[in-house]
């Protein structure tokens, strides 16, 4: 096993342990998390040119960076989720531009116009459900397309595409595993549900290389989640 592969496995296992620590002992977990993320970012930085392994490890750190910031934003569910996913979109775009990632026939963010269109429609639906029907959970109508967009460009568009260059078909399982690491705090049942959903989404993206299909499926997954597993939304 090459040293860089060993580092990647250590980072993945370390991330799972730190995430568990964070959900069990927030203060200690937070300090370990902050040091862990900072160390990996510094160790993987390369002034000349990043190898694809270094890029993947840095991309893996995007979600922890946003997690650290999210810990402090103890706002209402709607606002903290909105800020968290905007952070993910922002940092993902930053690294994609920094590394100048381009994948043949595999669009990492698709056409942003479509996603903004979806956001616009969901915004109108949110306004209607809030002001006409006084629906209590109207904020989720707006959040779901945003969550789906952030997850797709991060997990499928960037992480899976990079992992695919290194690990091949194994990237499907890897993406699902990484998706699950960040679901640990929601409990074991949710981890199983999310793992199955992530496997389906990643496999479909791997086969079709079409981010729109996984985006629509991701929205459906979150709608079903909201209907049958509301604890994820803090309801």
């Amino acid at each position: 096993m090459k040293s860089v592969e060993r580092n990647f496995i250590i980072a993945l296992v370390g991330l799972a342990i730190v995430e568990y620590l964070l959900s069990s002992f927030p203060t200690i977990g937070f300090f370990v998390y902050a040091v862990f993320v900072g160390l990996i970012l510094i160790l993987m930085e390369n002034e000349v040119k990043h190898t694809k392994e270094e890029k993947l490890l840095i991309i893996l750190m995007i979600l922890p960076i946003c997690r650290i910031a999210e810990i402090f934003l103890n706002l209402e569910f709607f606002w903290s989720t909105l800020v968290f996913y905007l952070f993910i979109i922002g940092v993902t775009l930053y690294y994609v531009i920094k590394f100048w990632l381009r994948f043949e026939k595999t669009p990492f963010i698709g056409n942003p116009t479509y996603f903004f269109g979806a956001l616009g429609i969901s915004g109108i639906a949110w306004a209607v459900s809030k002001y006409l029907f006084n629906w209590e959970f109207s904020g989720i109508v707006f959040l779901i397309p945003l969550i789906a967009y952030a997850e797709e460009i991060y997990f499928r568009g960037t992480f899976q595409n990079l992992a695919n260059e290194w690990f091949g078909n194994f990237s499907i399982l890897l993406t699902a595993f990484v998706y699950n690491i960040f679901s640990i705090s929601y409990g074991f049942t949710y981890v199983l549900i999310a793992f199955s959903a992530a496997l389906i989404l990643s496999s479909l993206y791997h086969i079709t290389k079409n981010i729109y299909i996984s985006y629509v499926l991701n929205i459906i997954f979150h709608v079903l989640l909201f209907m049958f597993y509301p604890v994820v939304y803090g309801i």
Partner: protein
């Protein structure tokens, strides 16, 4: 409007300390360190600003 419902499990003081430490590392470290930590520092700084503004606003609303 957004208001802080309660202080989270991890106190915002930790965020301040963390941000200062990372800013010191960025300032004193090499160019490589600066490049590596910049996104983390920017995100933490934005979180800090959001928290500060909302905290001030919450105090103002409660006083009014």
């Amino acid at each position: 409007m957004i208001t802080l419902s309660k202080i989270g499990e991890v106190s915002p003081i930790f965020l301040t300390v963390l941000l200062i430490i990372y800013l010191m590392i960025v300032e004193l470290g090499s160019r490589r360190t600066r490049n590596a930590l910049m996104p983390l520092v920017i995100i933490l700084a934005i979180a800090f600003m959001i928290l500060a503004v909302i905290s001030v606003y919450t105090t103002y609303v409660n006083l009014k």
